[in-house]
Point group: C2
Chain length 218, copies 2
DNA sequence: AAATATTTTTAGGTTAATCTAAATGTATTA
DNA sequence: TAATACATTTAGATTAACCTAAAAATATTT
């Protein structure tokens, strides 16, 4: 059984491990969790003793198979709760993250099973991220980040990378949402910004940074 | 802001204070929370410093006005979550307590407001206990414990005192539920047990201990 | 490859919440 | 009311999760 803090570390390390092919570094973990490297060293020792991480001094950590299973259960809970908050309690997609960070640590198999059923076994959360099933299995939609696309290309928004509130509010403001049709009108060479058309309406401009955080179907 | 542990102490002390007219003792708190008197002394010092309890060494504690408001918010959350689990997730009334003990500490005003709305502002939880509103106000139904009733008296079950799983399962088994019609056929002088009739069906016997834990309308 | 910079670990300390055992206060009873 | 019993508090440890500062390992530059 993992504690609240241990679950948070494991989940974060799992996410970081998905973004790199090498081991996850102590500093990367500390940055993600807004904590200090010394605290991370303590915790990764504990988690490797528990068998969810493999760790060699000064070489970073990797998530073990049992660690992955445990991490995916936390992620499953997080994404089910986010779906509940949006679908049933009418939260906006920018309001769910903080609350789901708390709810994901509630411990009850029956609760999660029933919640999943109540939500009709959703496959994706409000940000387009896949929801692992009770065995940790999930399927991602094939997708490309908008900054990788070419002039004239179009597609449907299937996910956003960053779920921070300010970013999501900005997307709402310019009329972007999951399922929106998007077409690249022009790509500005100078700064990588894009002129895009949403749902065949009048075009807008988005920065390269924003375009890196939006995924569309290929 | 109170911690998880502090909220648990405060809620428990509030409940104990409702059952007595004098101050709540250190040992009573320790028993309720399955902890030791020494731990309780430490915690009540902290809580009185925070202004939610008033405390005099060796004289027990009383819940202050601000303490009562805080306690009622925790109780409100507990009872709303229990209602959610039963009404929406089809939990049995004997399965909700443990999970609600965790959920009651989730911190989000918006969540509770929306949950209340989603449940259509319920006034009573699955055990018949009143749910305080956002200001801590609630109304109890007038009620008598079954062991206080006389031969021939009848009424509707409006609440149960104890929400422990074994007790509630037993009630299910003998056909008792909130809203059931109950009639006292005979009161056995010797041990205080009762012969009762449920919903005009064939009669059963219940012990005095059980009858003390069932409340009916007068 | 030596010097320098960066990352990671270790050593030692802090805080919250718990504990046991001993000391002290309060209550009961002979 | 003195003796005994019981309740409560204090003293001092323990554990988990964090911290700072210093030491050690690794990486990068010149």
């Amino acid at each position: 059984m993992l504690s609240f803090a241990e679950e948070n570390y494991l989940k974060t390390i799992y996410h970081l491990s998905q973004e790199t092919d090498s081991a996850v570094t102590t500093n990367a973990i500390a940055d993600s969790l807004n904590t200090k490297a010394a605290s991370v060293t303590d915790m990764i020792k504990k988690l490797s003793k528990k068998g969810v991480l493999s760790y060699q001094k000064y070489k970073g950590v990797q998530v073990s198979k049992t660690g992955e299973i445990a991490a995916l259960q936390v992620i499953r809970k997080h994404r089910l709760w986010e779906t509940f908050l949006v679908d049933k309690l009418k939260f906006n997609w920018d309001q769910v993250h903080e609350v789901a960070e708390q709810l994901e640590h509630i411990n009850s198999d029956l609760l999660i099973q029933r919640l999943d059923e109540f939500l009709a076994y959703p496959k994706y959360d409000p940000h387009g991220d896949p929801i692992p099933d009770e065995n940790g299995l999930f399927k991602s939609k094939p997708r490309v980040a908008l900054d990788q696309c070419l002039d004239g290309q179009s597609g449907i928004i299937v996910a956003v990378k960053d779920s921070n509130s300010a970013f999501l509010k900005y997307l709402d403001k310019i009329g972007l949402y999951l399922g929106a049709k998007i077409k690249i009108i022009d790509k500005v060479e100078f700064d990588g910004s894009l002129e895009i058309q949403i749902d065949n309406k009048k075009s807008t401009f988005i920065s390269k940074e924003v375009s890196e955080n939006i995924w569309i179907t290929e």
